[in-house]
């Protein structure tokens, strides 16, 4: 711990001064800490408690009944859990791969560009910043069988994109890739620009081809950034909600329903609050596993910065 915090003149050694600094730090931190606990951690623990209960909201006053792990067991035996889980995984895998390939390609192009790099970058970032619900709406029109421009441009007649499972899945993946490729692009472009150019010079002198440079120099050097980009995207696609909600509402026949949507419907349409809470905790567990990878890499990069 020699970097970051040490940047200020440290009070010279006395324990009293150290204690004062610690008190001051916690005073500054208190509001954030209290808010993070009160409005997030405590409700989450309450939802853990709920996940072991059935909460009957149809009677007044509402009644909580302890059911043990029954909510979890029920979910694990239900196709209403596995179907969205399968779709969520498929959707995540396809979207993240698409975003990575397109984002990386754009980053390489921008890195090479000598003309107008700033303008291109600015314009390419815009899809990522769009309000997701509006993105869903806009793609809804693009896919519209009658008034949509996708069918018109690709001469597909009146193809009902959102009416058939395979096309609907492709449609939501395409819209997601459009939205989030810029994210991968921005991260990787920053990564590319921070690489030192000695390895490139050496490779050039040795007569390496562009493909070899990409394969043996760029990708290995960029690996930490690539992993962070992939992990963040995986965490965020896994929770996808808005775009599907606008495009397919989970349809046709619940075949493009993500876990977030299942959880939403379970809790707020069918008022199975206990089961919804159980599903939340299953999602939390899956996200935690992915996040541990992310936090691990971030910790490592913080350590190398010396923070």
């Amino acid at each position: 711990m020699s970097g970051g915090p040490a940047a200020l003149p440290q009070p010279h050694g006395t324990t009293a001064l150290r204690a004062a600094e610690e008190r001051f730090a916690w005073t500054l931190l208190a509001p954030t800490f209290v808010a993070a606990c009160a409005i997030l951690a405590v409700p989450l623990l309450f939802s853990l408690y709920l996940s072991f209960h059935v909460w009957d909201l149809s009677v007044v006053p509402s009644r909580l009944t302890w059911v043990g792990v029954q909510n979890y067991v029920g979910l694990l035996h239900s196709e209403d859990f596995w179907r969205p889980l399968r779709f969520t995984c498929l959707y995540t895998a396809l979207s993240v791969s698409g975003e990575f390939v397109l984002g990386f390609a754009l980053a390489l192009l921008l890195h090479r560009a000598t003309v107008g790099r700033g303008v291109f970058t600015t314009l390419l970032i815009l899809p990522m910043m769009m309000t997701p619900i509006v993105t869903g709406l806009v793609w809804g029109l693009l896919y519209d069988p009658n008034y949509g421009m996708i069918n018109q441009i690709f001469n597909l007649g009146h193809l009902a994109w959102l009416g058939e499972v395979r096309y609907a899945a492709a449609a939501v993946v395409i819209a997601t890739v459009w939205t989030n490729s810029p994210f991968v692009m921005v991260l990787l472009l920053a990564g590319l620009q921070s690489l030192s150019h000695e390895p490139f010079e050496a490779a050039m002198i040795d007569g390496a081809s562009s493909r070899q440079i990409l394969r043996y120099i760029i990708v290995p050097l960029l690996m930490p950034t690539i992993l962070v980009a992939l992990l963040i995207r995986t965490i965020f696609e896994f929770r996808a909600f808005d775009i599907m909600w606008m495009l397919t509402q989970g349809g046709p026949a619940g075949r493009t329903e993500t876990l977030s949507m299942t959880d939403f419907l379970m809790s707020f349409r069918f008022f199975a609050v206990g089961q919804g809470a159980a599903l939340s905790w299953i999602m939390l567990a899956i996200t935690a596993v992915i996040s541990v990878g992310y936090l691990y890499y971030l910790t490592r990069s913080l350590r190398t910065q010396g923070a």
Binding site: M1, G118, T121, M130, Y147, R239, S260, A288
Partner: protein
Amino acid sequence: MGSLRTVAARPPEPATPRRTRWTQRDLETVLVTLVLIVATVVFMFPILMMIAVSFKAPADVIAAPPRWVFRPTLDNYAALLGLRASEFHIDLLLHFRNSVAAAGGATLLSLVVAAPAAYAFARLRFRGARPVLFYLLALRMLPPIATVIPLYLLMRNLHLLDTITGLILAYTTFNLPFVVWVLRSFFQDLPADLEEAAMIDGATRWQCLVKVILPLSTSGIVASGIFALMLAWNDFLFAVILTNRHAPTLPVLTAGFITEMGTSWGIAMAAGAVIAVPVLIFTLFVQRYMVIGLTTGAVKG
């Protein structure tokens, strides 16, 4: 453009004999630029289409196949404002006011709460700094649906459902971790000499923070504020769950345009433009802080 600009120069190209005025390098530049132009057009297309369709007259909107050339009108915006009859009863101003109040309030509150914490993480030594910092990041990784259900129950008990206050509190919590991380990195980049000098002159830590650090980090505060504003502005999930008749925001309004009977695409696109265009303009201001913003948890929920 700051951090997005090249730091290291491109690797030198192998020298090619100059036979004509066009070297291989020039050719490459042209090729790269062309591909980028095509990519940019493709990526911009949905946004441009949204804006274009929002100016179409109803007859042009339902022309099949779609018309690319049309006479622009303001009909859809008029309908959105209730100046022209439409099948929707839209209270655009209510949604707009709610969006501004919820997103703006949450932004201010999260800045006030997060700035001191960020300073503590950036400059002070204390036990528990790392665990708390990562606890905050972990909160950002939670799927929002998992937090919004218990939050709904909490707000119901506090009678905060369907209120702007409730939304502000909810948005503040999901902004906090993000703002703390971004501001922390700004504070870290400020030279420590200034505080040293202030402290030698007898300033307390509080005075250092308020009189030295905060005035110097205006750009950082503005940038993280804009990020926080966009996060809250773009949210749909929290708004659709936590609000009903009184406090719904713009994205909730938009979701209502898709009906069983089909969608009024013209009005829908006009609403989309009203919501998204301010965000797109804001993006231009924060673009150079994008990378730090993204790695600390991204702009979207």
